[in-house]
């Protein structure tokens, strides 16, 4: 009986693993398939020969390295900005009692209800006069605002896991509150900071619609826009596209693998209070 349930459990685990990984496997498989076998051996699990030609083309001849660089800049910028600002908001929510606090928290939850497609045009009109349309800074500002509410709650949950007595003791010893935050609390918040950085980086890396609407020049395009314009062109080269897509997967996959442990840990600390 026990070995039976044990075997069943492994089957379930295997099923989850297959469901999660098969689509990624297929992406890589197509990026390695030579053009002439793309359709003739389209449904076999592994093609009779493989090639790296798609990857060398994407890296050496296509504009994708530029898109890649742009996406790194935008995602990193957004992740750092959001984490800094969320550290402030989360701290205030966790350590202060003040009038309007509850209203403010409700406001942040409500921002999650907006259909973002609705604000594209007004946002464009707002950003155009101050020169932020078609710039990477503009994208960073917009993504920062969109990701901040959730990140603030995430940070709040991490602060809740750190005892107040720590900074109170430091303040009795003569630190200001701000010094106590920087010297005592922030070092303990490193898992939370890591989790927030990674979460926001991954989210910013995926963004499509706003990059599509706000960026027009080829040299500032992000990966998502670049890939989609690949589809728009006549005679799409699927192998090359999938090679570019495989490369686009690497940074968020690394980031996310590093931080997922902290994400679970941090949510555990503040979970039930959420």
């Amino acid at each position: 009986m026990k070995t039976m349930t044990g075997a069943a459990l492994w089957l379930v685990r295997l099923a989850y693993l297959t469901f999660a990984l098969f689509p990624l496997f297929w992406l890589i498989r197509i990026s390695l398939t030579p053009d002439n076998l793309l359709y003739s051996e389209g449904t076999t699990i592994w093609p009779s020969s493989i090639t790296l030609a798609n990857f060398t083309y994407v890296i050496e001849e296509s504009p994708f390295p530029v898109f890649f660089g742009n996406t790194v800049i935008v995602s990193m910028g957004t992740a750092v900005a959001v984490t800094l600002l969320a550290a402030g908001i989360g701290y205030a929510f966790s350590r202060f009692e003040f009038a309007g606090k509850r209203a403010l928290m409700v406001f942040l939850v409500i921002t999650q209800l907006f259909p973002l497609v609705m604000v594209i045009t007004p946002l464009y009109q707002l950003l155009a006069p101050i020169g932020l349309v078609n710039t990477r800074i503009g994208l960073i500002v917009v993504f920062t605002a969109f990701n901040l509410p959730f990140a603030a709650f995430l940070m709040h949950s991490f602060y809740e896991g750190i005892p107040r007595e720590l900074e109170q003791a430091a303040m009795i010893d003569g630190c200001t509150r701000f010094q106590a935050l920087i010297l005592i609390i922030l070092p303990l918040m490193l898992p939370g900071i890591g989790a927030t950085l990674g979460f926001v980086f991954t989210a910013a890396w995926s963004e499509l619609l706003f990059s599509l609407m706000l960026i027009t020049s080829e040299t500032k395009k992000t990966f998502a826009v670049g890939l989609l314009s690949f589809v728009g062109k006549s005679g799409v080269d699927w192998g090359q596209m999938m090679a570019a897509a495989t490369l686009a997967l690497i940074p968020p996959a690394i980031f996310f693998t590093l931080i997922q442990k902290y994400l679970v840990g941090g949510l555990t600390a503040g979970a039930v209070k959420a």
Binding site: L9, Y16, L85, G88, S94, F98, L104, L116, L208, A224
Partner: protein, 309 residues
């Protein structure tokens, strides 16, 4: 004290007025930068967007721009595509969230028990969450194509399809393509939040229950489920809203087609605004979607409050 944040009663009773003012000022030192950017970039455009919905605002006809009251909303009432998109949004959101919840809960329960290789397993099954949405759309679009993927043949073999064909070009089935991609992508998020909630359940409760002779099912029913409920409702709320609002997957995989059969509201907003260039109408559609989601959230939080008593 950590729950103080949730009770308004504690916030109004500080020792003295000047000290409370100082505390508020100090709190705003930490809040202001973030809150102001959210207000500027989200709230202001939102207000402008809602005002568009009461205007005749078509980019190709700049001369005829002006306030037109609720005309956009009247048009919407008689627009068949709107009702179709509304029904599709409900279908898309319900199936995506239901499967994400079920599979995510199962995954969280699996990951909560130690087994050899768990750490590696966890980072592998969470990987889909790291895949950019548009990319998972492109990838699944490819997977549903019978010429370049074995999936349609497999679906036929297990009897889901009558023949290996592309469900994305079938008006009756097209929406299930993006739904599958959404489920695949979103299971890890549910698993992460529910795993965190599972880990925060005090273990001695289970020990006490087993000493009292409770079965595994009874422990699950009377300890696990009640402890998970707050996290489950908040995760369902967030996911429902995000899924209902997200056009990316459908935009990439079907563009709402064939013949609007997989059109959802956010996608319809996007096509109205940037294909028909009718910003007034697009904003009216978006406003309706937002009002519906606010109503849904209030209802869900109300039910959660009732259950909590």
């Amino acid at each position: 004290m950590s729950v103080a944040a949730d009770s308004p009663a504690t916030s109004g009773r500080s020792p003295s007025r000047p000290r409370r003012r100082f505390a508020a000022a100090e709190a705003w030192f930490y809040l202001a930068p973030g809150i102001s950017i959210v207000a500027l970039v989200m709230l202001v455009p939102l207000a402008v967007g809602i005002s568009f919905s009461f205007q005749n605002y078509v980019i190709f006809r700049p001369m005829s721009r002006g306030w037109n009251g609720v005309e956009n909303y009247i048009d919407l009432w008689t627009d068949r595509t709107f009702w179709l998109a509304l029904a599709n949004t409900a279908r898309w959101t319900f199936w995506s969230v239901a499967f994400q919840l079920g599979l995510g809960l199962g995954l969280a329960l699996i990951l909560n028990k130690p087994f050899p290789g768990r750490a590696v397993f966890q980072s592998l099954v969470f990987l889909p969450w790291a895949v950019p949405t548009f990319l998972s759309g492109l990838n699944w679009q490819w997977l549903f194509n019978p010429i370049v993927s074995p999936l349609p043949a497999w679906l036929t073999a297990v009897g889901v399809l009558d023949a290996p064909r592309n469900i994305l070009s079938d008006p009756d089935l097209a929406l299930y393509g993006p739904i599958t991609a959404m489920i695949w992508w979103g299971v890890p998020f549910f698993a992460i939040t529910l795993l965190a909630a599972l880990r925060s359940i005090p273990q001695d409760l289970y020990e006490a229950a087993s000493i009292d002779g409770a079965s595994a099912w009874q422990s699950f029913r009377h300890i696990t489920v009640p402890f998970l409920m707050p996290m489950i409702t908040i995760t369902i709320l967030l996911r429902t809203v995000w899924v209902a609002n997200s056009p990316d997957l459908i935009f990439v995989m079907t563009e709402g087609g064939p013949a609007n059969s997989s059109q959802t509201l956010p996608n319809y907003v996007f096509t109205s605004a940037y294909k028909s260039m009718d910003f007034g109408y697009a904003s009216a559609l978006a406003t309706v979607l937002m009002v519906l989601l606010v109503m849904y959230s209030v209802l869900l939080l109300f039910i959660r409050g009732r259950l909590g008593q």
